[in-house]
Amino acid sequence: MTSISKPKIVHPGLKRNALGLTIRDYEGGMSTLCAGCGHDSITAAIVQAFFELDIAPHSVAKMSGIGCSSKTPAYFLSTAHGFNAVHGRMPSIATGANAANRSLHLLGVSGDGDSLSIGLGQFMHALRRNLDMVYIIENNGVYGLTKGQFSASADVGTKAKRGEVNKQPPIDPVQVALALGGTFVARSFSGDKDQLVPLIKAGVRHRGFALIDVLSPCVTFNDHEDSTKSYAHAREFSHRVVNADFVPPATEIKAVYDAGDALPIVLHDGSKVLLRKIAEGYNVGNRGDALEYIRAHQRDGEIVTGLLYVDEGEPDLHEVNGTTETPLNAVAFEALCPGAEVLAALQNRFR
């Protein structure tokens, strides 16, 4: 992960956002991933989403664990703080960061090894806490950095580059999230930026844990024939069920959608996601139906994508705890220390 800085040349005509920043201000160092890696497309989608959301990069914390995917925070938002945690433990760092500073935007980037094997416990508990963060899993079915071992998301029957066939059933983060009460559950494909950017934007504005599982082919170890995580396979078998269009607050929804097709979901900051149903028979508001639909299509080899489930009403970690609005790291010491008199009085209890 040698860092290579990118020369920053800003064209005078480059579009600026509400903060006066250009998209270049949302970029990071040069990627050192393999040419054609799906992760780089996700990086580009993140850059675009944060630029369009007018979020100051330094108010974002980029969280990751270990693996190829976890390297990517170096490639976007160069003026955001980054945290490369130990393998599989990023969710706990994110929990602490959120506990201490609820005003920070937390963006987690993880992989299928990091989240579904070594870090499955932490991933599930961050979900369960409804931790206010975006959690992207760059899912490619293999361990890239250690050269091509199957990960826990590898499908049954998928073949490794060296010919070995996977026989163990996959852990699907989307199904895990639905089963555990996830409040924002999405799946996308790194090659589908039109779908991914609005999902990231909606995820950022969602209060709670926004899981976006992104199929992100590994060009070096898992992009061959007989792989179910290849570009070709993803293109052929992706099955969009719901399109999510992100609408910033105070933007009038123009009547481009038929009223019957578009379901607006108001996010906690007033922005909206317009859900447009594409597939017949998909019920976005019902956790059980969503799960059943995804499973049925999985049996047919199809990968269901879109914003698959969203519930804006569930409390996050701080609402459950009843924490003060002021981030805890900004509460004055005087408001934390009860003082000498209290201590003197308190000790009568111990006599």
């Binding site: 602490g96 960061a97 506990a99 003060t324 000790q347």
Partner: protein, 606 residues
């Protein structure tokens, strides 16, 4: 040894053998507090099983007008309430002592002893006759022995009544039934035995300005006063009550009375790996954060501890040590995590340790732990143990200095970042080995990557040998700074010039002090150095140099503290002699006295 007639006024050990889950804890605490309020120094040690109901449990109260509050090893009065352990409890009574038993059922005559006095009380029968409810009958047996002991040991009944009233508050029915049970026991022994016994309590004035508190409660209070806002933990005996106490104090002192908003956040994590991660995430964001744990939890935290050492993140841990290895004995005490805490994690890693020797010091060192963690940007582990953490100790009142301001260390704020050209995370600008840090969200110039991988002084990824070595060598410099900042040892000189010195720490302190005082009349004098921190610092080096022979007292099998002294200070291992006790019970002074007596005898012979 004491004989039957010998008076043991204000100098005895009372032990109550019971079955856990029968509500004996409140009765025992009532006895201890009564002695305390009579102005007589006292301590209580709870020997309890890792179980909720039905297994043997003991409570040992030492009454000592002279203020010796460690264990003495004697049992002067035994209340044998548990048929399962009766034979053993009878055998444990010191010659000349007293055994009190429930005479509702016949006693095994084969287990008789002639060198002790035996007092039978029909506790179960009296309570069964007096109380209707089955659970009440069980609970009230305990209060009945309190009443009996009040008569036998001359305890102040007014104080007992007052304590009962305070304990049950507005539950007047409970106050009445408890007082009735106490009366049953009191009247029975008064009518049938000569009261009080020669072994008894006489009021003194030696507990003013003192409290009875356990170390976990005091440490939790320290966390509140230090301004800790984030607590993360996974339940593990014997550390659990620390977070319970923190929660209780925060509910009371950190909750907005009008809105109910909390100025703290406690996260019960899925395991200790997550608990330490949460602490690091919060510390990274500038909150004071801590986790209480015990040996097995500390083992799980190893990877993150090395990460925190190398990325230079503050963290405060309380290791309330229990018996290892492995799961060990969760409800027994030891000082056996010294080495695993000092070097927790892989690679060249070492951590600052603090050693509180009583609950009051748990409070003081909790505050210092946060200051040191922030100042040094590194984990600080407070090495408590079950004996300190869960037993009530008599300590001087805790006093708060209103002028205290937390030392948040070198953190650059937005204004400072605005002025500087560029921020580099790991540059040793001040020559003390401590770099500057920034908090997320402060300023675009403050951004950097926290990474456990090789990084250079600018905080950038590196695999370059020289750049990597510069960082780890600077960490050694920081370690030397730490040695100057940590609390100094407490050195207690013997009454006469001493050629020998003794080093100890933590909960060994009362036993060590008692041993040294008991040895002095026989002409055995040792200077005593009580360690309070690792790295050890200059004072410890000098103490070792000043003495011909050093005895190291510690509660583990492998002489871990001795190893650490030789590793860190390079002193000759042959000069350090171990006195080890590791059975899991709080240290009693006898092993120290005996070892030093033998050593002295051999020294004279040589």
């Amino acid at each position: 040894m004491a004989d039957l007639k010998k008076s043991r006024v204000n100098d005895f050990v009372l032990k109550v053998a019971n079955v856990n889950g029968t509500g004996s804890a409140s009765a025992n605490s009532l006895l201890m507090k009564t002695v305390f309020r009579m102005g007589v120094p006292v301590s209580g040690k709870n020997f309890f099983p890792s179980n909720i109901q039905g297994l043997p449990t003991w409570y040992e109260i030492r009454v000592s007008g002279d203020g010796y509050l460690g264990r003495s090893g004697a049992v002067d009065v035994m209340v044998a309430m548990n048929a399962q352990t009766y034979a053993r409890d009878l055998a444990d009574v010191s010659p000349g002592g007293v055994l009190i038993y429930d005479s509702t059922w016949p006693r095994d005559r084969q287990l008789a002893r002639r060198d002790i006095e035996i007092i039978g009380l029909p506790l179960a029968r009296m309570c069964n006759e007096h109380f209707k409810n089955a659970r009440t009958r069980i609970l009230m047996k305990n209060m009945a022995y309190v009443g009996a002991l009040a008569a036998l040991l001359a305890l102040d009944r007014k104080i007992i009544e007052q304590l009962v009233a305070e304990t049950f508050g507005k539950k007047t029915a409970l106050i009445a039934s408890n007082l009735e049970a106490i009366e049953l026991g009191y009247q029975y022994v008064s009518a049938n035995f000569q009261c009080p016994l020669p072994t008894r309590v006489e009021a003194l004035d030696k507990t003013k300005g003192h409290i009875m508190i356990d170390g976990n409660t005091a440490a939790a209070l320290g966390c509140v006063y230090a301004g800790a806002t984030v607590g993360a933990w996974y339940p593990i005996t014997p550390s659990t009550s620390l977070m319970d106490a923190f929660k209780g104090f925060c509910e009371r002192y950190r909750t907005d009375p009008e809105t109910g908003e909390k100025r703290y956040c406690i996260v019960q994590a899925e395991d200790e790996l997550a608990a330490i991660g949460i602490v690091l995430g919060a510390s990274w964001n500038g909150a004071r954060a801590f986790t209480p744990t015990s040996g097995p939890g500390l083992s799980l935290m190893n990877e993150f501890l090395g990460f925190a050492y190398f990325t230079e993140l503050p963290a405060v841990l309380f290791d309330v040590q229990r018996v290892g290895p492995s799961t060990g004995m969760p409800t027994r005490t030891q000082q056996a995590d010294i080495l695993s805490a000092a070097f927790a994690s892989h690679g060249d890693t070492k951590h600052v340790l603090l050693f509180p020797s009583d609950p009051r010091e748990c409070f003081d060192l909790a505050i210092q732990a946060f200051d040191l963690a922030d100042r040094l940007q590194t984990p600080v582990i407070v090495m408590s143990d079950l004996d300190i953490g869960m037993n009530d100790w008599m300590c001087k009142d805790i006093v708060w200095d209103p002028k205290y301001k937390p030392d948040r260390g070198k953190v650059l704020g937005a204004a400072q970042l605005e002025e500087i050209q560029a921020f580099y995370r790991y540059v040793d600008a001040d020559g003390d080995g401590i770099p500057y840090r920034t908090l997320p969200g402060t300023h675009p110039k403050g951004a950097y990557f926290v990474r456990g991988s090789g990084h250079n002084q600018f905080g950038l990824y590196t695999e370059d040998s020289a750049e990597y070595q510069q960082v780890v060598d600077r960490l050694v410099k920081k370690w030397r700074t730490a040695a100057q900042l940590v609390p100094k040892p407490v050195i207690r000189r013997a009454a006469k010039p001493a050629k020998w010195g003794l080093i100890g720490m933590g909960s060994s302190d009362p036993a060590i002090r008692e041993a040294l005082e008991r040895l002095a009349p026989s002409g055995i004098h040792l200077d005593y150095c009580r360690l309070r921190a690792y790295p050890f610092g200059e004072d410890v080096v000098r103490f070792i140099e000043q003495h011909e022979r050093i005895f190291v007292v510690e509660q583990n099998r492998d002489a871990q503290l001795r190893s650490l002294l030789t590793i860190e200070l390079g002193c000759a291992p042959a000069r350090l002699h171990s006195i080890l006790e590791y059975g899991g019970l709080p240290l009693d002074c006898r092993c120290i006295v005996e070892t030093l007596e033998q050593a002295a005898a051999q020294g004279e012979a040589a």
